[in-house]
Symmetry: C2
Subunit: 77 residues, 2 copies
Amino acid sequence: MKKSVFYHAGCPVCVSAEHDIINLIGAENVEVVHLGEFRDKIFDAENAGVQSVPALVTPNGNVLHINFGASMEDVKK
Amino acid sequence: MKKSVFYHAGCPVCVSAEHDIINLIGAENVEVVHLGEFRDKIFDAENAGVQSVPALVTPNGNVLHINFGASMEDVKK
């Protein structure tokens, strides 16, 4: 199965959601991307439709915005 | 593993998220509750911390609000 991608920015809401997602779907099924550390991935995330973090992009390209940690505008600052 | 509970209200955002969640974690791992059809479950959902639907309550009791379909106030109408 193609992996999901979990985008986050290190905020407490993000970290909590990351643990939940990994528990639910398995660490081997999700690639975790910290947009604060890998800022060149912000473009990829926005292209995928990510509007806020944490967000999970599913293998079929849907974006699940999970709770609310920060907007993409805040991530860019 | 204890099941997660996916609360929704039949809205398009909910249905789309339901498909994604079932694809990701497996139908056997999630109980789906339609709050429009089972209105007595609204109390359970609010008690679990659900503020909007669709939302997934994980086996350890965390609430993942996924995208935004409707607030619980709207669901009660």
